[in-house]
Amino acid sequence: MKFFEDIRVGEISELGRHTFTAEDIKAFAARFDPQPFHLDEAQAARSHFGALCASGWHTACVWIRLLIRYRRREDEELRGRGEPVAQMGPSPGFRDLEWLRPVYAGDTVSYATEVVETRPLNSRPAWGIIFVRNTGVNQRGEPVISFVSSMFVERRDKGQEPA
């Protein structure tokens, strides 16, 4: 990805979209979130969701998959231009995650990420931290997920710039 110094608040990246099939929804739920409304059409129809819908964790995990793919494409473009590529570090976590609407079988969710804050790290001068607002919108234009996550990003100057 780009170096910390090159990342601007307000930048929006379209990450791509994913269609949630009934098979995928059930397979994910069977592994990690075995609730009746994620596993079985008939039981889901009787639940407060009204129809089979994806685990919220599934909706979130597809976001990280599309983000990593996006960063890879970005890295290839940077290398193609002969520019150096920054390391994406670990994430300390996320906050304010809202599952705004159920993601039903057959729904297609488009994901985007917007930079909301960048901060150099005093404790680790080779790294900065960025905060991004991540969103997913279904094929009807309705938001289904929103959260703010943070991640460490390598600095170009490694904290060596004069004070």
């Binding site: 919220g56 990593i68 390391q87 976590g93």
Partner: protein, 162 residues
């Protein structure tokens, strides 16, 4: 009929929610599918990263916690899903072969204003690693159905003086 309803939760309750071993194979399999970063995929490549070795994806930890809770506390309760997650902190890496324990602490409970048949319970869920320290903490307020008799009473219009 679930054993636990909204009424059964009270602030301060701490519940052990099981433990499990996290294998290298499942760390790599999850990463290959959802979070294919070098630090989650390959020991050699992971050594060059900030965490200095192979670690589980934080999203994998969330999913494992969800599964452990489904197999314990939430599976025994009238769990109706959660509208979101207030905060997740990935405090320390989870390494291959590490045993993790899940723990639930009730922070507060509140009835639903719009739905008399359910209420919210705010939890701090934690995964505790081999060191005995939390490796992840997660704060969320899932929904639980109320006990049928209590739900019927809550649905009655309030009457003064009775």
């Amino acid at each position: 009929m679930p054993r636990l309803h909204w009424e059964d939760f009270a602030p301060g309750q701490v519940t052990a929610c099981g433990s499990r071993l996290v294998t290298r194979a499942e760390i790599v399999a999850f990463a290959a599918e959802y979070d294919p970063q070098p630090m989650h995929l390959d020991e050699q490549a992971a050594r060059a990263t900030l965490l200095g070795g192979l670690v589980a994806s934080g999203w994998h930890s969330c999913c494992l916690l969800m599964r452990m809770l489904s197999d314990s506390l939430l599976g025994e309760a009238s769990f109706m899903g959660a509208p979101g997650i207030e905060e997740v902190k990935w405090l320390a890496p989870v390494r291959p072969g590490e045993r993790i324990e899940a723990r639930a602490t009730v922070l507060e409970t509140r009835p639903s204003r719009s739905r008399p048949d359910m209420g919210f319970v705010k939890f701090r869920f934690e995964l505790v690693g081999a060191s005995g320290q939390p490796v992840m903490s997660l704060i969320t307020s899932p929904m639980f159905a109320r006990r049928p008799t209590d739900a019927a009473q809550a649905a009655q219009p309030a009457r003064g003086g009775s």
